[in-house]
Symmetry: C2
């Protein structure tokens, strides 16, 4: 998988400080997660092909995660898109989206499927051939949803070296092995599947938590993720403000990462008060060293 940061600041954007939006490359498609204003420009700037986007996920309906959606959907129409687009977002968005299209007298050229997220929802919301997307509740001032993208376990791979011991095996044997079956030789011997196959690479897991207060209830969902994006709006000095606004400090984000035993933490959604975000990165690293601050255009491959 590959995570590309399109915007990683909180509201009140400035030149070069786009609000939250990101794109995740998984199994030949780009999933878009949150859609802060300017998202379509950032997608172009950082090389995310619009045609490879089939699913958009909106965590909650605050403007800094949402207001880039409308322009993107309109642009797809002008580009004469015809393929399906799926929007997974809090249910209250759908009628407003319809009204926005209505007052613009816009007819989309492509089917837009709205998949409502409802209060308290958790579990799988998208099942593709090679991966799933799950949602789970976050804790914010408004109904907010986290997302986990998990690759499915791939089949074991045929071990070409091991096969050389059995030069007589034909094509049917390959098919049996790929299907996970053992092989019965002509002389009656059984060769277990594991003897002729190698384990697949472990499936990857990405977890997204923005926006949220410190909320250990997310840990079961995000446990052992290869990459966790967690908001870190404030430094420890502003902890009271974080509590009041239901955001997290960098240290809290790192604590979640440590407790969930993730491999790596990326923090973002920085308050505009921090001219230099290294204060946030450093506070997180004290708790969880494998932390990196998000930055526009930064790509994390895992």
């Amino acid at each position: 998988m590959e995570l590309r940061i399109l915007g990683c600041h909180s509201a009140t954007p400035k030149p070069g400080e786009f609000p939250t939006s990101q794109a995740l490359y998984v199994k030949n498609q780009w999933l878009v997660i949150d859609a802060g204003e300017g998202m379509q420009i950032q997608l172009r700037r950082y090389g995310v092909k619009f045609g490879r986007i089939r699913h958009i996920f909106i965590s909650h309906l605050h403007g800094d995660h949402l207001y880039g959606l409308f322009g993107f959907l309109s642009t797809l129409r002008l580009l004469d898109r015809h393929t399906d687009l799926h929007l997974h977002a809090p249910e209250a968005l759908e009628p407003v989206l319809q009204e926005l299209f209505r007052i613009s007298q816009v007819q989309l050229t492509y089917p837009l499927h709205f998949h409502p997220l409802v209060k308290g929802q958790y579990g799988i919301i998208l099942e593709e051939k090679h991966f799933t997307v799950e949602t789970f509740p976050l804790k914010h001032r408004i109904e907010t949803f986290g997302f986990v993208v998990k690759e499915k376990e791939a089949p074991r791979k045929i071990d070409k070296e091991a096969l050389k011991q059995y030069p007589g095996l034909e094509i049917w044997a390959y098919h049996l092995l790929k299907a996970g079956k053992d092989i019965r030789l002509d002389d009656g011997r059984i060769i277990p599947n594991e003897a002729l196959t190698l384990p697949p690479p472990p499936p990857k897991k990405y977890a997204y938590c923005s926006d949220t207060a410190y909320f250990p209830e997310v840990i079961p969902y995000i446990r052992k993720a290869d990459l966790l994006y967690h908001e870190a709006t404030f430094a420890e000095a502003e902890k009271a403000l974080a509590e009041k606004t239901l955001h997290s400090t960098a240290k809290q984000a790192a604590t979640i990462a440590r407790e969930a035993e993730v491999k790596k933490l990326v923090i973002g959604h920085f308050s505009s008060r921090y001219r230099d975000i290294s204060v946030l990165e450093n506070e997180a690293k004290e708790i969880f060293p494998a932390t990196e601050a998000a930055a526009e255009g930064k790509t994390f491959v895992f």
Copy 2:
């Protein structure tokens, strides 16, 4: 007055190609005209102080003139604005705006006054002490409004040189002259106001026409403007497309400018098909030499 271009491209924005938005400085305030996505970033980038904005005008409800509004209004709240803001926009916008705020659970910190523009409306929509704003109908696929900003005639100025002929005049005489009155001297002579005052600088006039097909009916409203902004989405080679989409070619924009006897024409709303917009500028200049192509951040003082 001073016109600052924030964005001058049509829809399907790209990095460095923001959709339509502009700010007009007149008598110590900035009027914002249209609000393409990214407007708030462009306002900051080009030095338009949010606190000096009291009025926003939206010409029509297509996304490339509108989708920067929501983020801007939200940001003002985060900046804890308390002063009034006036939004002049097609009437269908108001309920959608309310719904957007509702689903975001946003409470504005400042009074937002919605002034609806209704089908066929023309005439003064804002009267300030030193200027007025008028609207008039354009011709587009959806109800669309042009705007004219006109300074009011200033009072005549006292001519200090001429006054030297009458060394005995006291402060009351100055006040009479400023009020446009004649002066009666002690010896009974009347000195006409014009003999002791100079004409004020001629009031300036700015006219805005975007988006619109070629529509000579606008000429009475925009006549003799010091500056006319007129859309020029297409070159002459795409004239059929301009007709189909109810946009203008550069040549048509220039024809309107010439017929309306404006002093200067600025063209914008360029289709993304033109990598080099000099083709549009050159076609317009053939008809109306005092033409200049808009560009992001460009400022026109007049």
